[in-house]
Amino acid sequence: MSVLRAENITKNYPGTVALDNVSVAFESGKVHAFIGKNGSGKSTLVKVFSGAIEPSAGCFYLDDEKITLSNPQEAIEKGISTVYQELSLIPGLTVAENIFMGRLPMKGPIIDWKKTYEMAQKILDDLNVNISPKQLVADLSMWQCQMIEIVKAMSTYPKVLLLDEPTSSLANHETELLFEMIRNLKKKDVIIIYISHRLQELWEIADTCTVLRDGKFIGKTIMKETSHKQLVNMMFGDVEIKTRPDDLTVGDKPVLQINNLCRKGVFEDITFEVREKEVLGIAGMLGSGRTELLKSIFGADHFDSGEIIFKGKKITNPNPVKMRNAGFALTPEDRKNEGLIQIMPVYGNLCVASLDYIAKGAFIRKNKEQEYVRRQVKDLQIKVPDVHQPVSSLSGGNQQKVVVGNWLNTNPQIMFFDEPSRGIDVNAKQQIFQIIWDQSRKGVSSIMVSSELEELIEVCHRILIMKDGKIVGEVKPEDVTVQDLYALCMGND
Amino acid sequence: AKPAASEAAPAESASAETASSEAAPAEKEITVAGVVFQEDQFMKLMQKGYEEAAKNLGVKCMVSNTNNDQAKEAELINTYVSQKIDGIAIAPLNDQSSMQALKAASEKGLEISVGNTKLKDAPFVCGGYTSDNYMLGQQTGEMAKKFIEEKLGGKARVAVVQFKSQLPTQSTERMNGFVDQLKDLPNVEIVADQDAWMQDQAVQVVGDLLTANDAKGGIDIVWAANDGGTIGAVMAVKNAGKAGKTFVFGTDAAEQQVAMIKSDDNILQCVTGQDPFQIGYNTMEVLIKAIRGEKGEYGKETIVPGIVLSRSDIAAVDAFATVLAEKTK
C-alpha cells in the first residue's frame, strides 16, 4: 500500500491564497473524492502534485519519499499521472502520439510507428474506447478528447492518478465507462484522486471525500457515512438548495420559432418554438448536435435550410452581430476558447457584447461601463479582488459568471445557455439557475442545454429531446424522472 | 590618378563602328547578358546602355539585377553559364568577392566585360569601362577646396555622409579621394562622418548633424558620397533653413541634382556625375566585339572620369541635363 501525503502546502497568488496550509493524506486502493466550491483550490493542489506549479510553502510525500518536482515530466516518472481540468491534447498530432507523447517507443534512434499504433490500439481496447489511434486529435469531438486524456493518463500505469473533473464533458454512459476503468485501477492498488462538481456520482465511485473551502482543508470523510447535505454543508458552510419557484409563468406568445432547420450531417429538420418567459431545455447525449443547433440559430455557424422567426419576423442570414442586436444571447460551452478573452481584464470581458450599450456614438462612457461592471460583479457575486485583473486568474466558476454577466449586460430577450453549469460548484450553479429564473420573470425566454439531466428537470418548463441531430421528443419536467429522461435520450426503444 | 579625360572612349566613334559589324553576315545568333547590381537610377541607365548597344549590334541581350546580393550575383552567373550564352557585361558588386564566379564563367568560355566597378587583377576580362571612385571623390574635392579657399577664407567645418554599409569599397575610395584634397588646408576639420545613402535617411542624419553642431560653430560643408546622400543633404540644409550658411558637395548626378545646382537657393555647389548610359553602352559594345573576334587587350579596363557639374559652369550642367533627359525617356 502506498500513501500520497501533503504537508502544510500553501500556494499564494498575488491577491489570492489558493491553498492555505493544506495537510491531507490519500491511501492507495481507494478513490478519493475531492470537492469544494469554485476557486477553493482543488485544481491548484492537483497541479502541485503533478509538477505543473511549485507550492509557495510545504511539501508532499509519496510512500514517505519527499517529492520535489521541477517539471511535469518528473511527476510522470515518479508515477503521478494527471487529467487536467482544461483539455490539453495537441490537435495536430494523432491519438496514438498524444497518448505516448514524450515516451514514444523507439527502434534505435527512430520511432517505431508500428509499435506505437499497436500499443495505442491495445490500451484503447483495454479501456474500451472506440477511437482509432491514427485519427488526428483535431478531428475529435470534445468528449472524445476527454476520453483520450484519460487513456493517456492511464497509459503510464501510474501509482497516483489525479482526475480533475474528468466527467464535466462526459455523458452518462461514458461516465459509466470511465467508472469501470477507475474500478479496475482501484484493484491495482492505485491512489485515485477524483475531483467533481457532480456530487451525485461520488457515492457511486468514491470511498472517501475531502473537502476544501477557500483554500483551507475542511475535512475528510468516509463517503458511505456522509449524506449529500453534510457534504454541501462542508463545502459552503450553510446554504439552501433551491428548487424551481412556483411563481414562474409561461406566456402565450411564441417568441422564437424554428422551422425545419437543417445542417447536413449535424442536425436536420429541427422545428420547435419558444414562448415568452419560457425556459426550454434541450436534453441529449453528447454529440447529439445541441451545441451546433444553438450556434446555428445564433448565426455563429451556418445552416443549410430552414427558417428562424423571431417575434413574428423572419431572420435571414443570421450572424452574431445581428442576433445580439435583435436581443439574442449565447453563453458558449467552451468558456476558455469561446466565451472569454483570457488576457483581457475582468471588466473588459464583462462589456464585450454590450459595447453598443455602454457607448454613446463611437465613444465608451466610462461611468456607464463602471456601472455595468459593478452591477454584474455584485449580482452574480463574482469573486475577484480587482476587476482590472485578467479574467484568466479567476477560477472556473467565476469565469463562467463573467460569461453570463457579459450577456446580461445586453438586456437580452432570449438567452441560450450551453452547458451553463459545466465545471462550476453547486452554489454557483444555483446562482446561475436563479439568474435564468429571474430573467424569466422579467419576460426573457431561455434555452438551456445541459448534459446533467436532473438540472434540466429542476430548471426548465419544457424539455426537448435531441438525438442524432433530430428532435425525437418533448416532455414536461413534472412528468418524468431522471431515469425516464435518460432513457429517452439514449433512445433505446 | 589625375583626371585624364583623354582616356575616355569617345562615344560617337563607337557607335559609328556599329554599322559595319552589324552588317557581318551568316553569323550564329549571339546571346549576351547585362548585369547591374542595384535598383537606382544609375544602374537603370547603365542597363539601358547595355540594351541599346546590344540592339544596335544586333545581338540578343538578357538583363538582370543582383540587388546587392553577392550570392544572387553568383546564381545569375551560374544560370547564364548553364545557358551557354556567349558573354556577360557586368557591374560587379565588389572588386574581390565578385571575381570567383566571373573567373569560373570565363573558364567556361564566356567573354566577360565589366562596367562601373573595376575588378582587382582580372586578366580574363575582355575589357571594360569603369569608374575610379577615388577620382570621383577627388574631382568634387578639388572644387570644394577652391570653394573653401575663395568663399570661406580657408576655414571650414565639414561633415561627410557615406554609403559604407551598402558598398564599403566604393564609399571608402570616394571618401579618400575627397578628403585627400582638403588635407593640406590647416583650418578644415571633419566634424562628422556618418552613413546614410538613401534620401530619407540622409535628410534625417544631416538634419541631426546641423542642429547638433549649431552650438559648436555649425557645419559649413556637407559632402555626400552618393546620389541619395547628396539629395538628402541638400533637402536637410534647406529644411533646416541653413541655405547660405551650409553648402553641399556631392557625388553622382541626376535630374534632381541638376535642378538643385541650378536653383537659386545656393545650397548644392558641385557634384561629380557620370554617364552611366555610356558606361553601359561601351561595356556591352566591347563585350560583343570580343565575342565576334575583335579582341582587344585582355585585363585592361578604361577608366571613365567623372563629369564635374558646378554652379560656375551652368552650360555644362545644361548639356548634361539634355543628354540625361534623352536617355531617361
Binding site: R324, I341, A353, L355, T410 | S165, Q199, D214, M235, N239
Partner: protein, 325 residues
Amino acid sequence: MKTASFNFQKFLKTYVMEIVLVIISICIAFSAPGFLTAANLLNILRNTSLKGVIAFGMTMVIICGEIDLSISSTVAMSGIITALVSGKLASAGIMPMEYGVILGVLLAMIVAALVGTFNGWVRTKFNIPTFIITLAMMNVLYGLSAILSKGFPVTTLPAWFSVLGAGQIAGIPVPAIILIIVFALIHIVMQYTKFGRSVYAAGGNPESARLSGVNVKRVKIVVMIAVQVLAALGGIMCSSQVMSGAHNFGKGWEMDVIASVIIGGASMNGGIGKVRGTFVGLIFLGVLMNGMTLLNINEYIQYVVRGGLILAAVLVNTLQSVHKK
C-alpha cells in the same frame, strides 16, 4: 509607510520604459552637448514622425493579432503616385501642380486603402496569416511602384508641397504636428471607443469576440486599411522631405516600425498593447539614432547598440509585466 512604497512600485511598473528613456537621454546629454537643445529635440520628433504615423497604425494591427510588412512598399508607392498625378495633370494642362498634388495625395491614400482592404479581405476570407499576405504584397507593390516610375525618381512636385515634411508652424516642424495629431487620434480611438475595444477583443480571442457579437472580420479589415493609409501618409511626408518619389523609399521601414511597437509593450500574439507605449518606443529609437549620430559613432557599432537596446527594452518591458502579475 506602506501605501507610499506601493504607489512608487506601481509608478515604476507603469512608467518603466519612460524611466529608461530618461536615463538614456541623460547619458547622451552629458556626452553630446548639442543633444539637449530645443532644436535637436524637435529634430528627433521630426525624424520620428514619418515612421511614427505608421507605427501608430501598426500598433492597432499588432493588438489585433496581425502584422503588415507591406507598408514599406506603400511608402514608396504613395510618393510616386502623388508626384506622378501632380506631374501628369500639369503636363496635360488640366491643372497646375499646386492643385494637382492634392489630387495625387488623395489618390495615393485611396490606393493604400484599397491595398489594406485587399490584405484584410484575404486574411478574413481565406484565413491566411497577414505575415505572408503582406510579405507577398510588399513584393507586388514594390514592383508596381518601380513600373509606375520606370525606376527613376519622380520629382514633379510643387514647391509648397515641402511644407508637409519640412515646414514649421510656430517653430514646430509640421511632421511633428502631424505625428501628434495622429497619435492623439489613434490613442482616443483605442482607449475610448467601441472600435478600439473591439480591436483588443478581436486580437485577444477572435472566437470569443465573434460570439459576443463583435464583427471580427470587419475590425481586422479596418485596421489593415488604417495602417496602409497611415503608411501612405508617411510616404507622402517622406516625398515631401526629399521632394521626389522613388520606388526604393521606405525600404526596411517595417522592421523599425514593428520594433517601436514591440518596445512600446505590445504583444505579437495580439490583445495587448498601448498607443502611448508605441510613442515611447518611437522616441526611444529616435533618441538612440540621434544620439549616435551626434556622438559620431561608427555606423557598424550603431547596429550593435541598436540591436542590443531593442532587446534590452523588450526585456525590461517583459520583466516589468511579469512582476505586475
